[in-house]
Symmetry: C2
Subunit: 577 residues, 2 copies
């Protein structure tokens, strides 16, 4: 009959690898049926119970106590196995890391490897903040694998790092790839022009793996830790990483992955992403946006889509158009508003939706939400977009696709307003519509531009022509007439609205001073040198770095006083005296 | 000095084309500076005021009165012009429609053109419901351009149409294309394999125009009217159109366009779209969804994206995989639940997000929302997905990417549960991870499947392997070992989660009876015949049909009693006696 023997060890520190190996060695002893070696947390005791290993003797163990349980075929085999614990620990403890890579302290490791830019930290959570502080003191970037690190420590450490131009990836950062070398859990990914920032470990891994499978490659992939995009931490690491990748000439496309952040942090990060001058693919997993695109930023919803789009964008020849010159000097100082005069209701609606990402508010007689409704449809207010096909205008009157009269009268009026910079209108062709709309609209556009010019202003008129080459109106000649009148013509409402949005947004920002940047930029050049690192914690991370050909020193870290809490508290009190 | 003369005409009906032409003719009279010819609604009077044409004499006119205003260089020219009104109306009234296409009533038109499947109606809103009722009585589909039609009439008319297997597009339906012929406002679009359903006129036009510009083409494009997707109307026309296109063998891809519908109607329509067995592109403009894809349904946000994706899908060779056989017979009757055992937190998160679109609820220790949190992480409930990398499991224990022990114990337990049909797990490769995870997981999977088999069940095990061909573990041999153990292996979490979702959803539906369909299917064959129509209202719609080579009869419609409200009321009372 099966028989269970147990032991509890208090105030002793073993790292998790040692515990796993001990459990495995015990299981492999003759006559042993099962074994459990865990710290005595409630969750771990529940797990023991599931395996029928939670006997009364160990139920009283606490979170800092080590529980060892062995189930043998009989009492003798259980007893024999458990008596071997110390011997088995000693045999396993040496690990696989060669002595030449080992150091006794972080300081001595840093002295031995002055080229090291990084410290990897995977000690238990309650010790991790201290080790991180030491690493920052040595001017090293930190890869902080440890979890269970208090939030207030994370905030303080990241603030200190930002002041020094150093990165703290984590806590609970499982993975990163710097200059081709994987830290923590990381796949072997082809080098290439895509840079990654992820607040999600397996998110980073899965996206990078799919990028590789699809033929793409990475410059760097930075983890931030899962809490980085919370309001408390305020995306400190993500902002630094985004800034770094925006300055890195080898990175052509940037990918941002995170579980849905707080709306405030998301908005700010997206704003930052819109200013990097490179395409950015954002996967805030399950974070819904009204529009899929916003300037250079595209939102995706799964890891596969993320990888697919990033690879596609990284293969595009160039993205210069993103920063094309808008020639803002043509406008006089008072000009700042849009007036949209639409005949198509849903075109008007789509234009408002797109403009929402560029302008603070667009008023309308058919607004996106009721706070934006014009008090009087005939009187524009700031940015205004009118749907002239709304019922209020069509009682006893033809639809504006057939009758241009009302629109031309409104165009004349808006052109006389010195605050107006841009007029946006649609011209819908096809059967049923006006037989030759440009013959009436083109002269009206020319006249409107002349009115502005006479007033010392420049009026940009953008027309969306919606039609096909087989429509009865001859689309090419309609477009030609509008262009001859000085209008910019697009056949896509999407493209036209985004152009107008960028233009007006830039006009609005012309006079604003540059945003404050309290953070010190991370020095890009250290990321171009071969990676060298100090590893404090899991042996396997050192082994990985060696396998990848990176220079590394392993620190044989032990908690002060061997992890005995009481002794540590006494030591702490002595230090502070 | 400019001088304004005016006239008010009460109880007389003129159609909008006549009014526009009259205004234009008056403006062109010698010495005339401006003219206004409008029904006396408040909005129209405001418009007159904007043009400085609203003199005191016409301010008292009501919505059913016609206002005529002429501004002349002097009194004589204004007076001369306004005296010519009757003459100008008479000259313009005949219109451009040849006598041969004209009929005095809908009945006589139907007799003259028995092949007509359609009646186009563009009479003023208050008369439109009556005319529509007549058309349905004649068993014709209706294209209802008129706006200002009461909601209760729309509901009643659509219910009647649905009972008869007829379509009512509208009210306020601006556009449609049936079998290559445009109704109302419509562009000339290439024929092709894309079918459109739109609750938005210019949305339909812009998408169809962009499809044409990108080289694609249409079978049919159905308008529904802007209110069709409200809860009151409950997408009556959209459902019919979707059903029709799903049965049409020439339609390979379906596009659905609407301003954001009510969430209830949206959910139901999306459910319907998932059952059509063809790719469906949905643009509920600005309607945000957590996931971009759901089976055969893809969500897009702009008209350009809509057209681009539809054209791309229409060129794909086939979409058979959408309906691939799931072989549900393998499972025994009690099996219905998923158990997901993940080591990657964000992989677990993405899988839950994707599964949300397939399964009623997936419980987890790291759930999407707190109502789905497991009371006990060690005890699964219905569909359950566990993140074994959560902090609760990693105190003093290695991460499950390095240590498979906990996962294998859980796998054994789940395999013994007779309600479990599918196990989903991830296997993350790369530096830092377990050196040979399949060597431990594959035997465990084989054992789990054997356990189920011994219990008379079939257990599907799906594994997501996240890695690259350059990873230290040799991905291909890892995959081979898992497959040899009977697992289905994917390298995409997305693909794996969707497969599992479809499988479990189908198992759940296996025993449900088919949904009730109270609506009578619209007869597909009438849509394959050349379009023939009766037009009641705007001359220009008849002209368009003639120009497109369609057979058409134009009805010279007048309101009863010439539009005199009092007389009409008397006539109505006499009829009902």
């Amino acid at each position: 009959m099966a028989f269970i023997k147990s032991e509890i060890r208090s105030g002793v520190y073993y790292d998790s690898v040692v515990l796993m190996k001990l459990q495995r060695s015990l299981s492999e002893q003759p006559g042993v049926l099962d074994a459990g070696v865990v710290m005595g947390t409630d969750a771990n005791k529940d797990v023991l119970e599931q395996s029928n290993l939670l006997i009364d003797e160990v139920k009283g163990a606490g979170a800092n106590d080590l529980i060892i349980v062995v189930k043998g075929e009989n009492e003798a085999s259980a007893q024999t196995a458990i008596a071997k614990v110390d011997e088995l620990v000693a045999a396993r403890k040496s690990g696989n890391v060669d002595q030449e890579y080992r150091s006794k302290s972080l300081e001595s490791a840093a002295n031995r490897l002055p080229a090291s830019q990084w410290v990897l930290i995977s000690v238990p959570g309650r010790y991790a903040a201290d080790v991180t502080r030491q690493a920052l003191g040595l001017n090293k970037h930190v890869f902080l694998y440890s979890d269970n690190v208090p939030l207030k420590d994370e905030i303080a450490l990241k603030q200190e790092a930002a002041r020094k131009g150093l990165l703290v990836m984590g806590p609970d950062c499982g993975t990163a790839i710097v200059n081709g070398i994987g830290l923590g859990f990381a796949n072997k990914i082809r080098r290439g022009p895509i840079g990654l920032v992820a607040a999600s470990g397996t998110g980073l891994q899965q996206v990078s793996v799919r990028i590789h499978q699809m033929g793409g490659g990475l410059t760097h992939a930075f983890g931030t830790g899962g809490r980085d995009l919370s309001e408390d931490v305020n995306a400190s690491t993500a902002r630094q990483a985004l800034d770094l990748l925006s300055r890195d000439p080898d990175t052509k496309v940037i990918v941002l992955v995170s579980k849905p952040p707080s709306p405030k942090v998301a908005d700010e990060l997206i704003e930052a992403a819109r200013l990097v001058g490179k395409p950015v693919v954002v996967n805030f997993i399950g974070y819904s946006t009204a529009m899929r695109k916003m300037d250079n930023v595209t939102f995706v919803t799964t890891f596969d889509e993320t990888a697919e789009l990033a690879v596609q964008l990284s293969k595009a020849v160039n993205h210069k158009d993103l920063m094309s010159d808008l020639n803002l000097e043509r406008f006089s100082s008072g000009q700042r508003y849009l007036r949209g005069l639409f005949s198509g209701g849903t075109l008007a609606y789509e234009a408002q939706l797109i403009l929402k990402d560029y302008l603070p508010a667009v008023y309308s007689n058919a607004p996106l939400k009721k706070e934006l409704r014009l008090a009087d449809s005939l009187v524009s207010k700031e940015h205004t977009l009118i749907d002239l096909g709304e019922d209020e205008f069509t009682v006893g009157r033809l639809h504006p696709m057939m009758d241009n009269d009302l629109r031309i009268r409104r165009l004349e009026k808006e052109a006389g307003d010195p605050r107006v910079a841009v007029i946006l209108l649609d011209v819908v062709l096809g059967f049923g519509a006006h037989a030759d709309p440009a013959s009436e609209l083109a002269p009206a556009i020319a006249k409107a531009r002349k009115t502005a010019e006479d007033g010392g202003r420049y009026l940009e008129v953008v027309a969306v022509v919606s039609g096909t080459d087989e429509d009865p109106q001859e689309m090419t000649s309609q477009i030609q007439m509008l262009e001859d009148a000085g209008a910019i013509v697009e056949t896509s409402n999407d493209v036209a609205a985004r152009y107008v949005g960028r233009l007006l947004r830039s006009i609005g920002e012309k006079d604003l001073s540059a945003t404050e940047h309290p953070m010190v930029s991370v020095n890009l050049s250290t990321f171009k040198q071969p990676l060298a690192a100090i590893n404090v914690g899991l042996d396997s991370f050192t082994e990985s770095l060696v396998a990848q050909g990176a220079e590394v020193i392993h620190v044989d870290w032990r908690p002060a006083a061997g992890g005995n809490e009481k002794l540590m508290a006494i030591l702490e009190r002595m230090k502070s005296k």
